[in-house]
């Protein structure tokens, strides 16, 4: 049974989450402050953390930073803050995903499942990843659509590989730029827009009704081939 740590200072929401997560066969630990969360995390080693950003005492982002020192459990951030900059800050502090209050519980559960699937050690990547008619061959470093190789530039291929290796995970602009172009390009998000547009075209995906690459405006991109419905 997977275990989840819920860090939320609002008691009713904590209780609602506890019942809702248990009903899906997840073990639930709870904490109402960042300090308690760090203690529980160290003792119980949960598989995933759901973390409210506005906590009394040390806030969510600070909790996240301290937690990342000793734990690589996936963290889904709960936030009532609307601004992309807040979400980017949380992702940069080490969050894997975020959900905005008031959230849809099914959406949250889909994110939880996705995060649990890709958590470290859950599985090594198979040499060939499949998403419908698309195959990404990590060994031969090529992509095939309906069995026919697609011509991709090296940058496009690098980006595609990062995306498919992190199914469902929200990858921030900065993260993608750093991984594909190197640290000096971490603010050039125009590059990203151009390359993602080309990649979508070659993969037959569409920005308006995405099945493969989802844009989170102002924040980053997400590979949704496994479960497009969960991110509608």
């Amino acid at each position: 049974m997977n275990s989840v740590l819920v860090v939320e200072d609002d008691a009713p929401l904590r209780r609602a989450l506890r019942v809702s997560l248990r009903a899906r066969d997840l073990r639930v630990d709870e904490a109402d402050t960042g300090e308690t969360a760090l203690t529980v995390l160290a003792e119980r080693r949960p598989d995933l953390v759901i973390l409210d950003l506005s906590l009394p005492g040390i806030d969510g982002n600070e909790t996240l930073r301290r937690l990342r020192v000793f734990s690589d459990a996936p963290v889904i951030v709960l936030t009532a803050r609307d601004r992309p900059s807040d979400k980017v800050a949380a992702l940069d502090a080490g969050a894997d995903d975020y959900v905005t209050k008031p959230f849809d519980i099914d959406e949250l559960l889909a994110r939880v499942r996705a995060a649990l699937r890709r958590r470290p050690g859950a599985s090594d990547h198979p040499p060939v990843l499949q998403a419908g008619a698309l195959e990404v061959d990590l060994v031969r470093r090529e992509a095939r659509l309906d069995g026919r190789p697609i011509h991709l530039t090296r940058t496009e291929l690098a980006m595609l590989e990062i995306l498919v290796k992190n199914p469902g995970k929200l990858l921030s602009h900065e993260h993608l730029l750093r991984e594909v172009w190197g640290p000096t390009y971490s603010t050039e998000s125009n590059y990203l827009r151009t390359y993602v547009a080309q990649l979508r075209k070659k993969l037959g995906d569409d920005a308006a009704t995405p099945r493969l690459i989802l844009t989170e405006p102002g924040i980053g991109y997400r590979w949704i081939a496994d479960d497009p419905a969960a991110y509608g």
Binding site: A11, P12, R15, L17, P102, F103, I105
Partner: protein, 457 residues
């Protein structure tokens, strides 16, 4: 001619006579006498150019009469005598010129100093926000004194001040100094203004205009700052409201979705808990909405007081009855002196104040603890105090907790709205009173509402 002027001429003459008499008595020769008389002329010149000249003439005659041969005769032809006379005149002229210059410079400096002082005073008045018509009047008065003018009219923009206070007579023939929004018109004194005075007046007008402009800009920037703060505080309220409504909404949505989900394995207890969450959180949302509306109504100034006279005990009891639905009615311990004079206030608002304070106290009270409400009164004010046995409020949070959506570290299962104390403060402020929190005698927090006694309306 003024008396002091006559006295100076007489003194000059007396000085010369005395000097001559002294030389005669001492029996000195004519060289020494010339020096003594020359020195006397120098002293006389200190009295002014006129007395100096008189002394020189007197010295010339006295010297000629008593010392140049033929003695006791006036003999204007004698060479020695002519040299002595010229020396007397030159000495008197030099000293006279020096003295006049010094006197004139000193007068100008003193006028400059007075003008600088006036300028400073005007600046202070502008800074203090003095009304322009007052300022104009004061300036006009000061100018008449400083420059010895008979009449002065000062225009500051639209406003006008005149000195001395006369009917606004014809302004033809007045000399005008103007800069920007400042115009000064003066009736020149009989001896027309000197060039230095003119410069001083022009400088004064320019300074006055500059200072007024600065004051206007400062006022504008202050108003802009206030407007900005107000809009920030409104934006803050909007963002805090949306932020704070989301959490109970999230709980309700999560509970409802789980109840409906086909894949959720729920037992009867789980269902009961989810339903309870939905009910409680809907109520909390409702309270938040109502309180937010209250607060924005107070902010908008749309709140009219309806003062009525009431006994403090009745007021407190009514508020206690209203928290009965929230539970723990038994925990409230009333300690209101029945001898207290009745008070006049808006009953509905003050009940709200007490209700919010009681709710707050309940939220922070441990199980089975009691809450004490007591009241005290003096001639011109009275206080209602709500004390709990909770953890108290740390000194550095005592001001902050009255702000919107700032909640203390409540661990209760029924979180507050974060609005109660903001409403308390706003309602009390409408009554002209104040509210604060301090340590209760037995630990815990004591909220004190301090209100002025107003006459029954």
């Amino acid at each position: 001619m003024k008396f002091s002027t006559i006295a100076r001429y007489v003194s000059a003459l007396a000085l010369m006579v005395a000097a001559t008499a002294a030389t005669r008595l001492a029996g000195v020769d004519l060289t020494v006498a010339a020096m003594v008389l020359l020195i006397a002329v120098l002293f006389a010149a200190l009295l002014g150019p006129g007395p100096g000249a008189l002394a020189a003439i007197a010295g010339y005659f006295l010297y000629d009469y008593y010392y140049t041969p033929p003695v006791h005769h006036f003999d204007f032809q004698h060479g020695t005598n002519i040299i002595a006379g010229v020396a007397f005149f030159v000495a008197a002229a030099i000293i006279g010129w020096v003295v006049t210059t010094i006197t004139r410079l000193r007068a100008r400096e003193s006028k400059r100093a007075r003008e600088a002082q006036l300028r400073l005073e005007l600046l202070n008045r502008i800074d203090a926000g003095e009304e322009p018509d007052q300022l104009a009047r004061h300036t006009a008065l000061a100018i008449t004194q400083l420059f010895d003018v008979r009449r002065c009219i000062v225009h500051l923009g639209e406003d006008l001040g005149a000195a001395p206070d006369t009917e606004p007579g014809p302004v033809d023939g007045l000399t005008t100094f103007a800069a920007g929004q400042v115009t000064v018109q003066i009736a020149e004194p009989r001896e027309r203004l000197s060039g230095g005075d003119r410069e001083l007046l022009e400088a004064l007008v320019v300074t006055l205009d500059g200072s007024l402009e600065q004051a206007r800009l400062r006022l504008e920037s202050e108003q802009a700052t206030i407007a900005l703060q107000l809009s920030r505080s409104r934006a803050g309220l909007v963002s805090a409201v949306s932020h704070n409504l989301r959490t109970p909404l999230a709980s309700i949505r999560a509970a409802a979705a789980t109840l409906r989900a086909p894949d959720a394995q729920l037992d009867a207890d789980d269902r009961g808990e989810l339903l309870a969450i939905m009910a409680d959180e809907s109520e909390r949302l409702e309270r938040m909405v109502i309180k937010t509306l209250d607060l924005s109504r107070i902010r908008a100034g749309g709140l009219e007081l309806e003062p009525q006279t009431v006994d403090v005990g009745d007021l407190v009891a009514a508020a206690v009855r209203r928290i009965r639905p929230l539970g723990c009615h038994d925990a409230v311990h009333l300690d209101v002196d029945p001898e207290l004079e009745p008070v006049t206030l808006d009953i509905a608002l003050m009940e709200d104040v007490l209700l919010n304070l009681l709710e707050n106290a309940l939220r922070f009270s441990p199980q089975g603890a009691s809450i004490t409400v007591d009241a005290a009164s003096s001639n011109d004010s009275f206080e209602i105090r709500v004390s709990d046995e909770g953890p108290g409020v740390p000194p550095d949070e005592r001001e902050r907790i009255f702000e919107e959506f700032v909640r203390g570290g409540s661990r209760s299962d029924t979180p507050g709205t974060g609005l109660g104390l903001a409403i308390v403060r706003a309602h009390v402020a409408v009554h002209g009173g104040s509210v604060w929190v301090e340590d209760a005698p037995g630990g815990g927090a004591r909220f004190v509402v301090h209100l002025p006694r107003s006459d029954p309306a």
